[in-house]
Subunit: 347 residues, 4 copies
């Protein structure tokens, strides 16, 4: 059994990790830590865990956590994981950070977007961006995984197959993303107040101001082979879970949707968690609800020579906790899908 701990187990991504790890056949949870609910039973704070997780959330004792764990998950606001990772690595254990600290390879970019100087350049240099569908080979055997953000996951999976072709103008990429409210976390604000969100719709952090922008650009630039800047616009949708990203590219005249579909199919044919829909079909967030799956739809608008890609994920699973467990499976040479094959809940 892999001994796993979650530091920050009482936010939405953290408790989702607990749910998934608590049902994982090869994992034993050994420590769950919290700032807000110290010494309370997890099932008292989150009654949905009552039949499966009998642990108590504790204040963080980092030495003890490292000592007893094979792998540590951190699910914390940015700038906190970087003070934890060195101790885990020094202790010879693996760490998967669900926050932003180990995603951006360039520490100056991190500093510019997160207004905080990175203090763990050594491990940052060793860290891998944990998107298995793009970086599987580099993830295996690594010590530190920067688990991708929810929006970047939906985008990178949506455009990855285009990296092999010469069809699209990467500079033309416009990303219009829509997210459920759980992506904003469990903290309190008017922005997540039911009466302000329900039966309402808005864009936020637009025009290149959302912090997932550099992470998206890092992956897109990798696919394009040169630095790319994108327009990324997030929207808040009155639902709890799910991200849908609509992506627009200028595409070479004459490239049809069948060709694009075949390239996507080829790229993802062996991927257990990504499904490419046949042209004419479009994905819906509910079709991946509560699961680690991603579904992708494709269309070419011949009138405007544009390729449209629509991708959906569950922001808390493939966009956070599920992907973290997928990375853990890779780190420990398990079957990549173990503990993650639960079918989506519909309706």
């Amino acid at each position: 059994m892999i001994k796993a701990s979650v530091i920050g187990a009482t936010g939405y991504a953290g408790v989702e990790l607990v749910r998934i790890l608590g049902q994982h056949p090869a994992v034993q949870l050994v420590a769950l830590t919290t700032e807000s609910y110290k010494d309370q039973k997890m099932s008292a704070v989150f009654p949905h865990l009552v039949h499966g997780v009998e642990m108590t959330a504790l204040e963080l004792d980092l030495v003890a956590v490292v000592e007893k764990s094979d792998v540590v998950f951190t699910s914390l606001p940015h700038a906190l994981a970087m003070s934890i990772v060195p101790a885990v690595v020094a202790g010879g254990k693996k760490i998967i950070d669900l926050g932003a600290d180990y995603r951006l390879k360039d520490a100056t970019v991190y500093g510019a977007w997160y207004k905080h100087q990175h203090t763990d350049l050594e491990n940052l240099a060793q860290a891998v961006y944990g998107l298995p569908e793009l970086h599987r080979a580099q993830i295996r055997g690594r010590k530190v995984v920067g688990n991708p953000g929810c929006y970047p996951t939906s985008v990178a999976l949506g455009v990855a197959p285009l990296g092999r072709a010469d069809w699209v103008d990467w500079d033309s990429l416009i990303i219009d993303s829509k997210s459920g409210v759980s992506g904003a976390g469990r903290g309190l604000s008017l922005g997540v107040h039911f009466s302000e969100v329900n039966e309402n719709l808005k864009a936020y952090n637009i025009a290149g101001t959302h912090r997932h922008t550099p992470e998206i650009e890092q992956e897109i630039s990798g696919l394009a082979g040169r630095p790319i800047k994108v327009s990324f616009t997030p929207h808040l949708i009155p639902m709890t879970r799910g991200i849908l990203s609509t992506m627009y590219f200028s595409i070479k005249s004459g490239v049809g949707v069948k060709e694009v579909y075949e390239a996507y199919q080829a790229f993802y044919s062996q991927e257990p968690f990504v499904n490419v829909l046949e042209p004419g079909q479009l994905p819906q967030t509910k079709h991946v609800y509560g699961s680690n799956y991603c579904q992708i739809g494709l269309a070419v608008d011949q009138r405007t020579n544009r390729l449209l890609v629509v991708s959906v994920i569950d922001n808390l699973v493939k966009g956070a906790a599920g992907q973290a467990v997928q990375n853990m499976n890779l780190l420990f040479d398990l079957e990549e899908t173990v503990g993650l094959r639960t079918l989506p809940i519909f309706p």
Copy 2:
């Protein structure tokens, strides 16, 4: 492997059965039938099944289905299963009916409420009401199971422990139930039109007119040891899944919530799917979302000498498909919880 078929696999309860059975380690799905989507791949109709269920929905060929199945599930409008059950029983196979045809022991009561004469009295006499927490011993070894309705499940689990005590006036029972919209099925009507239901709330089929009333009364009468009539009022809530039933009893003066709680704890202590909350805690439907669990909260209002019981289930799982699989596990001497321990999705 148990060979299982679902007749009526493309309604909400049917497809939920497919989802659960498709992930059950001891089950092999052998036939899925449909009226509406003949010869279509299940995953084309329900894309959430794409990674787990590769079957095609077929028109019903009853002889073939019985032939190849160990157990048949029927998930059909009332009055249809009674023309299927005899053939299954004659073929020596087990059948679990998620509809209403085999729930009411008294065929005249069935006829009065469903406006249809029962035509399979022989199997009705043999059938068992498939609520394991109340009738587990009678379910084992039976051929025909009448799987309980969603409302009656939430009510019967909520009041069952009171059958042993002498505390409540059974005639005083008032049941105010609230259900998500999926309970109304996948058929089209203004009553399930999003714009009519969203941001809206109503009672319906009130004052003893809802067809779950006789089923509730059958179980309550069994607990009380004499015929009881109840006030049962269902309400439609703008959410997809979940039932919450609030039940009001006149209670003997002097009986406190601690006493009641201990009786409930004792009654359910060995039950894998029912959780009684400590006094002061109240259940929420989201805490059982997508799962086979039931949670129950208790309170005594000393000012009015009333006992309040609040129970929650997922109407499509413990209220339909999950309970059907729980019954199947019993019929085939499997561990009762196999395939059903998935934790609820939260948030």
Copy 3:
């Protein structure tokens, strides 16, 4: 023009008052006060006001407010209005309090439920409970109005016509109420966090612990002519606006729904804001959305000798701000419906 001020204009009831008063043909808004948004334009905080209300929210200067106003509305947490009312009355102006301080006639009951000693017994004695349909005559000419709570409004309107008849056992009354989330106010808490409320349902403050209980009992006792205790159970519904109360009475054998309906029709025939539905019809909260109307449905369950009454209101309008304006119209001898005839928004 009546010069009106709102103290506490940036909570949900307060801003709803601003919306209604801002469109009232006989009202001029002269002061809006706030704790949270001092010196901000109302339309910057609440952009829906941009085309109709050009005022700035100010810190409370009570002397100035009284000086410039003919009527003051207070929309504050309990125990605050009682320090404001004396100054308004002393200044010779009218005051309508949307909070709890002037609703309960018995100050010891207030103290027991609100854990705060009432400090303005003089004005409390003069105050009228501002439910026009029950107390219209007493409201006219009064100086201080205690505007009813949202739940009590839905209940009192639902049962008022029974006060004239001898049909029901008042002690048998069970009230199962369901409210949208805006009733919990604009303050932040997990209880109004979108991801915790959406697709969820719960009871709260049950078994005689909700602070609207004594207010309900005061009005019921008035109708019954003797002290009555009721079971009142509130539930939180995943919608923004609307209250539906389902009320259960034991009723004299032989009294039919037609008789009850006719009594209700007679009682409410001249009321501009209350509509009694014909037997067989049931009210929906959406049918009064955004309006000052109340709709009531009736049924008699002959099987159990119970009368069911279902009433719906918009909690922020008839349950708060609209009713306050209705009271203002009465205080100033205006047509009672002025500024309040806007039809509900549907769907």
Copy 4:
């Protein structure tokens, strides 16, 4: 009083017209027609009308309707109004069509998109596209108004001020629109089934296949002064009312948001129903809920040289019935805002 009729009064746009016209101080409703609810009282079908509209919905008798009306509104599926308009015009009355038949000036474009040959070319030639903010002068005195679609209204208002400047590349325009479910009408389909839409999100009719595309292009081409093709992608959002359109343009390097904002302010400064938000503010659909207002937010992404425009309307009011009444006010030389100044409902 203007005598007004609504042909097709029991769809969502039709009944919204009835609600607005029923409260309009200069209008008398004289006939409401229906296919589905013949001879039923409007308030029986739509109980929110009970306090304001006492009419019965009748089968269409066109001669009688024209005879008694000064203005006729048609709210019908496409291809039906064109058989009604000639009779209304021949009768010397005005007509405002909320459907698609009189919006596209080019009948061949209409035929290509709606798969139906236009049979009333004469009136089509006389008709005006009823977007007052762009075509006010042409609307006055006209007989036939083609009332704009909901999406095109949100788009045309969002980009209209750019027609005067030389900043944007019109060919670069990408429109990502999101609509509430009421835009799909009151007809039944799985696409509006609550359990399929709630807690879900999807794109539909993408890549230049939605029928509002040619209407959008007609208006955009008018602004650009040459034929323009656009990418228009609609999405279905789990809410009842509201459209938000996010529009992306390539913009000349060096043009800042302040410049753009000032141009928008200048363009809309005299418009009663359009509000341009200051840079940094973004519109939300809830801020125009139930009202005829449009709010617009602006941003320039200097990193990618893109202008982002975000516009919101209520799809049933400014996107349908409210705009139709605004057009009626123009046709009859009333103050343009009469009957339409109701503030949005928030929250």
